[in-house]
Symmetry: C2
Subunit: 445 residues, 2 copies
């Protein structure tokens, strides 16, 4: 059973029951290595038809457990209904690259970088860390130029990858943009904006508490308890027809209407995905748009994205604001550039600089506990803030996905990954010091 | 109950049972007009959340019946798992347009064109025909230039629309490309290429008979018969978990393995969607690629598409080769240009001219019966050939969607539509003569 505040919570369970089997199943067995579990090596879904033991199907309900997970993270739309986050028509705005020779040289030098894993005793190379962390895609942008880009596993250039809880940060960014523009008042109570929230515990939380996940709401993820909230949430959120006789909430928003209190609003940070979906509802109510459409209009289209992204939906078409997005590596790089450059990209301003300044400033670290790999961190507007020397902050997904922004190094790093266990606590020791090492290398070059 | 060979057959039922309720339900009631049933007027899915009577959900199983159909044709991915037909990265190749003033003038003149509906007594304007036929999008390209482009109902510029049985023509085109390149021998029997077809009626059909739908295979669409093949096909094809105790075929390809004979191969044309899915299997076996990937590699990417397209899949990830595609209006225009120009677009040749010449030549009209609105037609390689003075041929979908290519007029016409009844027999009388009228107008300008 995963500990409280674990990555399992971060998984943003709620798409379907399939998502729930991950942590438990993977924790039981010693996983195959990244190379052994490469979907091409495993032979998943190869052949017409694939042999029965190489099929990954949604009705099997284990398509999101390791090692199938390593294929499924690139193919989520083939299992579930989704909504598009359109890049619009016309030409994308290309990212800047150095010459081929420079690019190859940088790759070799970065691959050879060494760093000491947190609490480790032996140095590890950058390249070894990519395999240790089951990396599927890595993009590094320094001073506006792509200095490193590699694809592994199921991900190819032009492919897309599930970003899980990084979705929250995009929801949070949209919320913060609306706050900066005066469309959303973050001091209001949720019930002032969404009266149908009724007597849910969310009713009396402020929008700001929802954005920062300091609400006092009950949401248990004890997998061994059949009455745990996570199971109810998953059943509510599933886009599949409900079982006969089902009387529970239907969809993310009906679930939110019946959330019970636990503790007091504002007391402490508790990483609970339902806050992100509550924020999604608030955003749609004040903007009159689905979060998918808003992400397209405010981010994907104006930033010159190369690929449409998409988001899974519940049975009523509500996008999963807490974890449902899939996107391309480079477009996540563009999003990182937008954050690094405080709302500007390609010479255009997409939103006020105050949006990023607010996020970067972070929250109160004294309210932030339970994440030993981020000892001085905080969580603000659905972004992780490290409060380190480089002022780094990040979007983070539960299988090691990240947009990591280092303002001091002027570096954006995007990693897509499919780590076997749904817990960043296992991934951070060989990731965060690696990011710091590459940042220092880039600053010195 | 719809007549044999009706548009209901053309619907390519098989995605889910939802698709099966269309023809029956719509035929019972006098439908709302195009303007009355406009999804924006109906208020479908407006609000966060929409009121219960404005919700369109997949578990309701009637999302594809009129008037909900008029919203759902633009939102199929929100109900069902899908696979991408990627346009690739980089910039699309823009279509050519006249000046704004010329474009506006052409639109006014085309809208005012009049024509006599087949068997009609009163002339109708072109613009009136768009509403009579519940048009959602209309694009006309003449001599390589877009001379008319309008969007209605659920479709906006940058949107996408289900093309239903037009999918067959894309499957057929891919098959014909492989034949021309020597990868697929259309004289072989299906069992020579797909031995697992076993003792299915398809086993002894040639690939050519499958491509031209002259196989002798049983496939009944008698909706009042609970044992009709259409129901079995729908259950097999549904991507949703199978009901408890289900023992039937799982997926398109398992269904094809148990098809019974009816008549003799080669005797006559019978419009049966299962041929298209059989062709899809043959194509994947010889090419080693899913039809979605092949469509991306051979068509969408090299033709400079502006938008990704997508295709619904069964529970094993097999794309619905007989009806599952959704695409953008302009990209279907590009596909029409490829056909008009015998495999060339943007100055590049994508496949041999013989591919289109073969399709345009058509089949034996004496084997083609049961389509009174296409009296001298034939069906070749999954394309409809009119054998008229202009040498026109077309891809056709069951709610009035079409790519209509008129080689004499050098015209490509794409219509996306959501006609209430799933029968082109009702749509053709106010469509085919309108296409002829606009072709003659363009030739004379």
């Amino acid at each position: 059973m995963p500990p409280a505040n674990s990555g399992a919570a971060a998984l943003g369970l709620g798409i379907a029951l399939a998502f729930c089997s991950t942590a438990g199943a993977a924790a039981q067995t010693a996983p195959l290595s990244a190379q052994e579990s490469d979907p091409r090596v495993m032979g998943w879904m190869q052949g017409f038809p694939p042999p029965p033991d190489k099929l990954i199907t949604q009705p099997d309900s284990n398509y999101f457990s390791f090692p199938k997970l390593r294929w499924s993270v690139c193919h989520l739309r083939e299992f579930l209904p989704t909504e598009e986050i359109g890049r619009g028509l016309g030409a994308p705005v290309p990212l800047d690259y150095p010459t081929h020779a420079e690019f190859a040289d940088l790759r070799a030098r970065i691959d050879a970088l060494t760093f000491m894993p947190t609490n480790g005793t032996e140095e590890m190379t950058w390249e070894a860390s990519l395999y240790a962390n089951y990396t599927d895609g890595m993009l590094i942008i320094h001073k506006g130029e792509v200095v490193y880009e590699r694809y592994f596993g199921c991900l190819e250039e032009g492919g897309k990858h599930a970003i899980m809880s990084m979705t929250k940060s995009i929801t949070g960014l949209l919320g913060e943009i609306l706050v900066a523009e005066g469309v959303l008042d973050d001091t209001l109570l949720v019930r002032d904006i969404v009266p149908e929230i009724g007597d849910s515990a969310f009713a009396t939380a402020t929008v700001r508490q929802v954005m920062d996940m300091t609400t006092g709401v009950r949401y248990s993820e004890n997998y061994s308890d059949p009455n745990a909230d996570i199971w109810l949430y998953s059943r509510a959120a599933s886009p599949l027809p409900k079982p006969e006789g089902y009387r529970g909430p239907d969809g993310y928003w009906e679930y939110l209407q019946q959330v019970k209190p636990e503790g007091n609003h504002g007391d402490a940070f508790h990483y609970k995905t339902i806050n992100s979906d509550m924020l999604g509802w608030v955003i749609s109510r004040v903007s009159g748009k689905a979060v998918t459409d808003l992400a397209s209009e405010r981010l994907w289209r104006p930033m010159g994205a190369e690929q449409d992204a998409y988001q899974t939906v519940d049975a009523k078409g509500v996008p999963f604001a807490g974890g449902g997005m899939t996107a391309g590596l480079r477009d996540l790089g563009r999003l990182g550039l937008l954050m690094l450059n405080e709302g500007a990209i390609n010479g255009e301003r997409l939103f006020p600089a105050a949006v990023v300044q607010k996020i970067r400033a972070g929250g109160d670290p004294s309210k932030f506990k339970g994440f030993p790999t981020i000892p001085n961190g905080s969580y603000t507007s659905q972004w992780w803030v490290f409060h380190n020397d480089h002022g780094a902050f990040a979007a983070r997904g539960v299988h090691g996905q990240t947009i990591y922004i280092d303002p001091v190094a002027q570096m954006v790093l995007v990693r897509l990954a499919s780590y076997p266990r749904a817990q960043n606590g296992f991934i951070d020791p060989t990731s965060l010091p690696a990011y710091q090492a590459v940042a220092e290398f880039l600053m010195a070059r």
